[in-house]
């Protein structure tokens, strides 16, 4: 049965899927509002609940959490100067100042509308670009896939916040973690130490929940989370004509920047918002006023972080290459659902592709309608002390890990990785490359081994095939680039990836 946007809309507009979409975007906004819990942890918590529903419904809800979080993150940035998500860090700079000037409503309004415009336009682009790209990807063979994954991982570590060498170390360690389990070709257990539950591999969900959820709570227990909400009357949520005139340029630029940066591994919402802010400051006639309450400093980044969501789905749904940890987790979810990922996903599981695309249109409308009227509720939730929130977060993490296989082994694994994640943060190692590499490992190893079988053991196959050669050369170039001083300076400004 062929699928298109019309059939996707029929799927997405069913009562069940509307409900799941609504749950996803509402939970996503809540996640975005609450510091200490990000879309990665939330998706991994709720994934087990989606095992009882059709995969398309599960993906609709989980995707809703991701782009919903981008809407929610701006609320805390503007009202309490603490970003709910890393993609809303730059919104603090001018958004909070606008709140202090009595323009909190305008800031929240333009953030919501910019998010809606960026999110919707990027979904349109996703819908137009993904199917032909999937057709092109069908010519990819094992060498091209292996080279593409190597390039993706190197690009991710290049774009990472800290040291590239440490990012590469985590990527390589993630690949090792991905090899734990039974070797699919030889049937030999690898690094399982006789533990039965490791025979099928470590499992992405407990590892992610530990590295991103539990470790974040442990860090917050140690460092403390205090916030003071700027008490102001929130009115005039709709920007006036002058505000729109000042914002239309940043929104347009933010959409383009966010969409294309979202496609790149290591790009994503955080990098997009930061880049948008930097560009708005550069093109502005009054760059010195940025940081004092410029609406362009809110409109551009908030549009960009939502546009990045649509872009990020392109490599996931066409090439099975996740562009960021959230997409890596969604890839893991698709594999668990039993969905054939890669260029054939659109043809063989068209319901999933078009269902998710259609639901993103609907979800963005829901978010625009929900966000502004519910701001009062989000502010009340923000007032819940962290001392009461963190036990609940840990409980949900435990329940999420337990319900995977109804055993405590995944819970213990999650706690172990929680400690590892906490120590990684302390010693300045990023978890994003690790988790992306871990998810990609089965595909990567298979591609490498098949390539070597094809070439009778010669690594030259990666250089004799043009696409593969280009990817490998680009990856090698990226390994050299960080040593250039101006690149090193720029990288220090980029915030850590969203959790």
């Amino acid at each position: 049965m062929s699928h298109d946007l019309f059939s996707g809309l029929q799927l997405a507009l069913s009562w069940g899927n509307l409900f799941y979409c609504f749950c996803g975007v509402l939970l996503g906004t809540l996640i975005g509002v609450l510091p200490g819990l990000g879309p990665v942890a939330a998706i991994s918590l709720l994934f087990t609940a989606t095992l009882h529903i059709p995969p398309v419904s599960g993906m609709i809800m989980l995707a809703g959490i991701y782009y919903g979080a981008q809407y929610g993150g701006s609320t805390t940035s503007i009202l309490i100067n603490i970003p709910g998500e890393s993609s809303s860090v730059v919104t603090c700079l001018d958004g909070y100042q606008m709140a202090r000037q009595g323009r909190a409503g305008v800031a929240l309004g333009i953030a919501a509308m910019g998010s809606f415009i960026g999110g919707t336009l990027s979904v349109i682009a996703l819908q137009l670009i993904a199917p032909p790209l999937a057709q092109i990807a069908l010519i990819f063979g094992f060498p091209e896939y292996f080279a593409l994954m190597c390039f993706g991982l190197v690009l991710l570590t290049f774009m990472a916040h800290g040291s590239m060498i440490k990012g590469l170390m985590m990527a390589v360690f993630g690949i090792f973690l991905g090899t734990i389990g039974t070797d699919l070709i030889n049937g030999v257990p690898r690094f399982t130490f006789g533990i039965q539950i490791f025979m099928d591999g470590l499992g992405v969900i407990p590892v992610v929940m530990g590295l991103f959820g539990v470790s974040e709570v442990l860090l917050n227990i140690e460092e403390g989370v205090s916030r003071q909400i700027f008490e102001t009357k929130i009115s005039h949520l709709f920007p006036d004509l002058k505000d729109w005139k000042d914002s239309i340029g940043p929104i347009t630029r933010g959409t383009v920047i966010g969409f294309f940066l979202g496609i790149l591994p290591g790009g994503g919402a955080a990098v997009s918002s930061f880049t948008s802010y930097a560009i708005e400051k550069r093109v502005s006639k009054h760059p010195e006023k940025f940081g004092t309450g410029m609406i362009q400093g809110v409109a551009g980044p908030e549009t960009a972080n939502n546009a990045a969501v649509g872009g990020a789905f392109i490599p996931l749904l066409t090439l099975a290459i996740p562009a960021n940890p959230v997409m890596a987790l969604l890839l893991g979810c698709l594999l668990t659902y039993g969905v054939q990922v890669g260029p054939l996903l659109i043809t063989q599981h068209g319901d999933i592709f078009w269902g998710v695309v259609a639901s993103m249109y609907i979800g963005n409308v829901m978010l625009l309608a929900l966000n502004l009227p519910l701001i009062g509720m989000w502010v009340k939730i923000l007032k819940i002390p962290y001392g009461i929130l963190f036990p609940l977060i840990l409980l949900f993490c435990v329940l999420g890990a337990y319900s995977l296989n109804n055993t405590v082994h995944e819970v213990i694994l999650m706690v172990i990785f929680g400690v590892i994640g906490y120590l990684m943060k302390k010693f300045d190692y990023e978890a994003a490359p690790l988790i992306m590499a871990m998810v990609l490992t089965p595909l990567m190893e298979n591609s490498l081994r098949q390539s070597l079988l094809l070439s009778h053991g010669s690594f030259s196959i990666f250089f004799t095939r043009p696409i593969s050669c280009v990817m490998i050369v680009l990856a090698l170039s990226l390994l050299i680039l960080p040593n250039l001083p101006w690149v090193r300076a720029r990288k220090r400004e980029i915030p850590p990836d969203s959790l």
Binding site: T48, A49, H52, S163, I165, K166, L168, M169, V172, F173, I175, F176, T179, D183, I185, N186, V188, R190, F191, V214, V217, L218, I221, E222, E223, G224, Y386, G387, I388, F390, P391, L392, L394, L395, V398, L399, Y402, S403, N406, V408, V411, I412, V415, G418, V419, Y422, K426, F427, D428, Y429, E445, L448, R449, L452, L453, H456, G457, S458, F459
Partner: protein
């Protein structure tokens, strides 16, 4: 404490151990890679990169002196250790005591030990949390939570 030096040494040892384990699995050859082939490459690259970081840390000792300590406040660091122990005890204890009892104790411990709250809030909060979460996960989402020795629910 020189964070870079000690962490890089840790990863160096880890990489070497991975290489040793991979050799035991059999590397095969490039014509026909064995199960240890891919992990061996990972272990080798990890060890080499760790060595580079270690050498960089030795070559820049002044940066190490200015580095922030790992744990600024020992008391708060101790709370983290406590939280981890409580989590592990909960994970193990769930199988013996059942979900309701172990969750009540878990939440109670966190509310009382980590960031102390009044006893009334601790008891009410922990019982309510256990009951409500049980209703959501066991009754609504059909997750098979451990019953423990009582097996009443």
């Amino acid at each position: 404490m020189n964070k870079e030096k000690w962490s890089s040494l840790f990863w160096l040892v880890t990489g070497l151990l991975i290489c040793i384990g991979s050799v035991r699995l059999s590397l095969g050859g490039v014509h026909n890679p064995g199960p240890g082939f891919f992990p061996f490459i990972c272990g080798a690259i990890l060890a080499i990169l760790a060595l580079i970081v270690y050498l960089q840390s030795r070559l820049a000792p002044s940066a190490a002196k200015e580095a922030t300590p790992i744990w600024v406040d020992r008391k708060k660091g101790f709370k983290v250790v406590l939280a981890v122990l409580v989590l592990l005890a909960y994970a193990v204890g769930m199988g013996y005591l059942g979900y309701l009892v172990s969750t009540t104790l878990f939440i109670g411990c966190l509310l009382r030990i980590i960031e102390p709250k009044r006893w009334s809030m601790v008891i009410l909060g922990s019982v309510l949390t256990a009951v409500i979460s049980y209703c959501i996960f066991e009754l609504w989402l059909q997750t098979q939570l451990p019953k423990g020795p009582f097996s009443i629910f």
